[in-house]
């Protein structure tokens, strides 16, 4: 079905539920959400106040789901939400929100603004007001299985490379394995060492794992653009592969939104609970550590910090595991100010990095992360999201900052105790 204004408004009406109604009923325009949003703090532009980004959705709620609002609409006193207005709101909803969730942690009345942005995007996409970059990425995901158009042959080439580089076996379509490993496009294209790291760690830990040739990509553009039907298709491929291969656990890669897509939205998109677990790679590593199957040795002799990917930490609950792992191998690990669940976003999550229209704004928003890194005086930043890593690397280049970016899984693999276990 093609996008239209009517479909957009209908989608707005469908996503409004009791929590959304309670949130809109409670906002007092205190402005604190703006103070928590890097798109406001780094620009000073009030239009980036998170609650303002929801105005068309709020008016739809008011006019459709409150008695006074309906009466005002009947009397012609309510200002209708127009298609032009939705078009004008597109940059606010997609370019200046990475769905990082910081505003949802700060709102004094308790509004989960990020959850409402996610819902609002359903209507924006249905109305045809999603940005071109995300529309293209989503279309590619559906046709080729990957938003970046990565095909299985590319993965195969990386498998061969990693097998040769590390002398490990990378199983494919292995039935009955403990883990089904997924990757993000960035990991396949930019950081295949992630795959090598997983292979080395699992070989050492004695864990069985596999890739699936029909479900290797974890990135879910459907979530970012706000198209649940497409998000369902993408998650469905992973679920089908996991069930076909009878794995016990699906591992979300170092990618924030992929984790949200499969772990938290996945069962809801599919309309059923899964018969397998879904974990982020850091959760799996920490599980193995606690079980005594992952022993680390050596240490990195330089100060470093950890950038919490929003969807993994604040919106995903994986904030202790990376610290436990880092504390074992990095004695000079330093916490950023506002680290953990209150960390500041890199500025490129939620599809912002795939949205060319948002590039200039994203670069400005990065100043917050830049300040966080600079005040620590470290030369190395570790993270657990390939998208954060790419966004930060690009921004560091832009700001001429000589900082090294590392993936935590790779770092763990480099510190495996070869004599342990």
């Amino acid at each position: 079905m093609s996008a239209s204004y009517e479909r957009g408004i209908n989608a707005f009406m469908e996503v409004i539920d009791a929590p959304v109604a309670s949130f809109f009923s409670s906002c007092v325009h205190c402005g604190l959400c703006a103070e928590s949003c890097l798109f406001y703090t780094e620009t000073g532009d009030p239009q980036y106040a998170p609650i303002h980004k929801l105005e068309p959705l709020r008016r739809t709620w008011q006019q459709e789901y409150t008695l006074l609002g309906r009466l005002a609409k009947l009397a012609g006193l309510a200002k209708p939400v127009t298609d032009e207005e939705l078009a004008a709101w597109s940059p606010l909803v997609y370019d200046s929100c990475s769905m990082c969730g910081r505003c949802s942690m700060v709102c004094p009345v308790g509004n989960d603004i990020t959850m409402m942005i996610r819902k609002m995007r359903e209507g924006m996409a249905a109305a045809g007001h999603a940005p071109e970059g995300l529309v293209t990425a989503t279309a590619r995901s559906i046709t080729s299985g990957s938003p970046a158009g990565v095909k299985w042959v590319t993965v195969q080439a990386q498998i061969k490379r990693m097998q040769a580089q590390f002398g490990i076996e990378i199983p494919v379509n292995k039935e009955g394995a403990d883990y089904l490993v997924l990757m993000s496009s960035w990991e396949i294209l930019n950081y295949p060492e992630y795959l090598g790291a997983v292979g080395r760690i699992f070989a050492k830990a004695g864990a069985t794992w596999t890739l699936a040739d029909d479900a290797y990509e974890a990135t879910n553009s459907g979530i970012q653009i706000g198209a649940s039907d497409l998000a369902r298709q993408l998650v469905g491929r992973i679920v089908a592969a996991a069930e076909r291969l009878k794995v016990k656990c699906v591992i979300s890669p170092e990618c924030g939104h992929a984790y949200t897509a499969i772990r938290w939205e996945g069962p809801n998109l599919m309309g059923r609970a899964f018969g397998f677990e879904v974990k982020h790679i850091l959760e799996v590593l920490d599980d193995l550590r606690r079980a005594g199957r992952l022993k680390l040795k050596g240490s990195i002799d330089k100060p470093l910090t950890y950038h919490d990917p929003c969807q993994i930490s604040r919106r995903g609950g994986v904030h202790e595991q990376p610290r436990t792992l880092l504390n074992q191998i990095a004695p000079q690990f330093r916490e950023m100010n506002d680290g953990g669940t209150m960390n500041w976003c890199c500025g490129g999550g939620g599809g912002v990095s795939a949205n060319e229209r948002a590039e200039a704004l994203r670069t400005i928003a990065f100043k917050r992360k830049k300040a966080q890194i600079e005040e620590l005086g470290v030369d190395t930043v570790v993270t657990a999201c390939a998208n954060c890593r790419v966004v930060i690397e690009e921004a560091l280049e832009h700001y001429h900052m000589d900082i090294e970016m590392l993936g935590l899984t790779e770092l763990v693999a480099e510190h495996l105790d070869e004599e342990g276990i």
């Binding site: 949130f23 604190l32 669940t341």
Partner: protein, 219 residues
Amino acid sequence: MSALELLTWARGSGLALALGLCLFGIILRLFEILSLGRKTDLAPARTVTPGSGWRTLLSRSLPPPGMLSRAPLTYVGGYVFHIGIAIAVFFFVPHIELIRGLLGFGWRGLPNLFVDIASIAAILAMLAVLAGRLTDPVKRFLSGKGDWLAWGLTFLPLATGYAAFHHLAENYTLLLALHILSVELLLVVLPFSKLFHVVGLFLARWYNGEIAGRKGVAS
């Protein structure tokens, strides 16, 4: 209608009407919200934390790390005027006597001097947050008629109550009547305005805490 007749109506039929409309409005608004329902979350919770929603009900009253310094006026002004109003409403002896008359029970009040200080603090804090709303770029940008109305409806009972207590006008009876009428206006408008946050925030905070708690995040 004389000032005395107005006061008598405000204390009797007016108050009953206002309380009835307020109660009806709150029930209607709660029905509007809760009848929308929400889907069961099929994603298994990281840990079963039945208390997370309730915890957030309390924890959201405190500024998250780093926020107080970013918006001191919003937090301090907000605390002072909310607490000041609560003291004036619930610990001024004549108010407690009114509640005792309506509900059949009451509690000990605070000395008038203490209530007076709390009221002055609340009035000053409300003026400060109004100045903040007028000058802060974000608040000014976000503010609409509803926000100004909510401020006015909250300030009126406070100002008239203070004026009546200190006999700042010759016609005390009229001043008292206006004070009670301003409270009644606030009660009637509360469910259908920004003032509804006094009820809605309990739902909003609970939902927020429950959603985050399922993921293993203390929000």
